[in-house]
């Protein structure tokens, strides 16, 4: 779906994006993670032909960007760094205007287009908003309107930059459900975010950008693979410590980290020897730990050299 080869963008002496090789496959929900200022938005803008790359190649739907932008952009929907709408018009009027703009105006009659606009407004939860001008919308409502505009032409690929910005927790949940529904219907989603939790709950593949470099690109399942250690919670810490001996890796209050692969086996073994177990789980790699290990300090932090 999206492939880049050594994609690089320099603004003067600053290298915002440095040799990035993205690989987003058909059917992915691709989580593009990175701190603020790590180059996510610049990358997204290059994918969409808004910012022109200094060097490197981009292919979307197998077609070169920005050369084939007319054809490529018509097949995708995008939300880039916050929504944009004309404040003096209603959400509906904005969508109709948006629909009418562009190289390939929507085919079909006026009533078809009206119906499609009503449909996407319902989909993002703005169906009842009426004639209120967009300048009276809350940030969350604007975000929903931006999403509606991206969905207007039932795109095959959605490129979303921080889509849940400004939404409340319920809103974030709703948008997540909507994205999962679209994905189930066959839409590939490229989601750029600085929120680990958001990516963890939604995505199938993850790419991590740090200071303009892609430091990681793997399926989420691999990143959350078991570590081969077991976490045991017990009120009988001294007894358990004595029994486990060498197998014990670490003790944190009532939590023991034990080497070994099978939690059920360990549970039986401990209980047989009179150690009560109040909690038991296979330890998994966490996305957060991986990401923190692979990236440097926050990129909005500027220390003296």
């Amino acid at each position: 779906m999206i492939r880049t080869h050594e994609l690089t963008k320099r603004f003067g002496s600053l290298t915002a994006v440095d040799s990035v090789d993205l690989d987003v496959r058909d059917g992915d929900i691709y989580g593009f993670l990175g701190a603020n200022g790590s180059g996510k938005t610049t990358t997204v803008r290059m994918l969409l032909g808004l910012v022109l790359a200094t060097s490197g190649r981009i292919e979307v739907f197998g077609r070169p960007m920005p050369k084939a932008s007319g054809e490529v952009l018509a097949r995708l929907g995008a939300l880039v760094e916050g929504p944009g709408a004309y404040g003096h018009l209603s959400g509906r009027a904005n969508l109709l205007l948006h629909d009418a703009s562009g190289n390939r105006p929507a085919r079909g009659s006026r009533s078809d287009r009206d119906r499609r606009v009503a449909e996407v407004l319902d989909e993002v939860g703005l169906g009842g908003v009426g004639r209120r001008p967009v300048k009276a919308y809350s940030l969350g409502m604007r975000q929903r309107l931006g999403l509606a505009a991206a969905l207007l032409r039932t795109p095959e690929l959605l490129i979303l930059d921080e889509p849940t910005n400004g939404l409340d927790p319920q809103g974030i949940g709703e948008i997540r459900q909507l994205l999962l529904k679209l994905h189930a219907a066959g839409t590939t989603i490229f989601l750029s975010s600085h929120l680990l939790a958001e990516v963890e709950q939604l995505c199938t593949r993850v790419g991590v950008l740090d200071r303009g470099r892609l430091v990681l690109q793997r399926p989420l399942a691999e990143l959350q693979a078991p570590t081969g250690r077991i976490l045991v919670r017990t009120p009988d810490v001294p007894a358990a410590t004595g029994l486990l001996g060498d197998r014990l890796v670490e003790v944190r209050d009532d939590l023991l980290v034990v080497a070994g692969g099978d939690p059920a086996e360990l549970n039986g073994w401990l209980v047989e020897r009179g150690v009560r177990v109040s909690g038991l789980a296979a330890e998994r790699h966490s996305l957060e730990a991986t990401v923190l290990a692979m990236t440097g300090p926050s990129s909005d932090r500027v220390d003296r050299p």
Binding site: R45, L48, G49, L50, V51, L52, S69, G70, L73, A74, L76, A78, V80, E81, G82, P83, G84, A85, Y86, G87, H88, L89, L97, H98, A100, S101, G102, N103, G146, A149
Partner: protein, 271 residues
């Protein structure tokens, strides 16, 4: 896309407010003249104002001469300066471009909308001038002869087509302003800065026109031939400055539109 841009422009309350204000000044002048009957002496004050007391039909041209030095360029600079930068500031430029609308197409559509605005405003000012002139000022029959600037008489037919050419000439003069403002509008993300930048060029030009030391530059200044449409009311018509004015504006339009296109087509859109 051109139709959409024009629709967008005329759905803005601000556009209508601008047109209203543009018509308000000549109307006020007409009312004041009608009440006081104190026209400026011939050769002083805005062009034609001395003549309109006896013949209101001429007030169409007088109205253009009243708004031309400042009001009309401000209105044009505001609309043209906002055209691209306004979209950038509202965050809608990136969505238009990924819609997708080709950059050249978008610029052409913006240009067409601005030109439509220029045409509308000039015709509206002249029309308002004609109506309030006929209603409030000298109400000789339309067919009456008018004294030309040169002193001989012009027939109503001659006045009609000369006025039509004047309207076209004033509109064309404004296209230079529009092109400068549109170019500046593609440079930054602030419509206000683009409008003021274009106005700064015009004010600079007006200042240099009053300076004898700048004599060598004067034929190339954008505002140099703006008021030359008055020559159309001489008998016979003095075409020299009108033709120079058209040629000069054509150069300004070509250069700044070229620059606007070159800049916008290769620009990183980071708004």
């Amino acid at each position: 896309m051109i139709g959409i841009e024009i629709r967008k422009l005329f759905r803005r309350p601000r556009t209508w407010l601008t047109l209203l204000l543009l018509d308000a000044l000549p109307t006020l002048v007409a009312i004041l003249l009608a009440i006081t009957h104190l026209g400026p002496r011939p050769g002083q004050g805005p062009a034609f104002l001395s003549a309109v007391l006896s013949n209101g039909s001429l007030f169409a041209v007088a109205a253009l001469a009243i708004v031309l030095p400042l009001f009309l360029p401000i209105a044009v600079a505001v609309v043209a300066g906002d055209s691209v930068a306004g979209e950038a500031a509202a965050g809608t430029l990136r969505y238009l471009l990924v819609r997708p609308v080709g950059r050249t197409r978008l610029l052409v559509a913006k240009l067409a909308a601005v030109f439509t605005f220029v045409g509308t405003s000039v015709v509206l000012v002249a029309g308002t001038g004609l109506v309030v002139g006929r209603l409030l000022l000298g109400n000789q029959p339309l067919s009456a002869a008018v004294t030309s600037v040169s002193g001989s008489n012009l027939t109503a037919g001659q006045i009609a087509w000369r006025t039509a050419i004047s309207i076209g000439y004033v509109a064309f003069s404004m296209l230079g302003v529009a092109a400068i403002a549109l170019f500046l509008s593609t440079v930054g993300d602030s419509g206000l800065a683009a409008s003021l930048g274009a106005l700064a060029v015009l004010i600079g030009s007006s200042v240099l026109l009053t300076l004898d030391a700048a004599h060598a530059l004067q034929p190339y200044l954008p505002t140099r031939y703006w008021l030359s449409f008055i020559d159309l009311y001489r008998d016979p018509i003095l075409w020299r400055n009108v033709i120079r004015g058209v040629a000069l504006q054509a150069v300004y339009v070509a250069v700044f539109l070229g620059a606007a296109w070159a800049n916008f087509a290769t620009k990183d859109v980071t708004s």
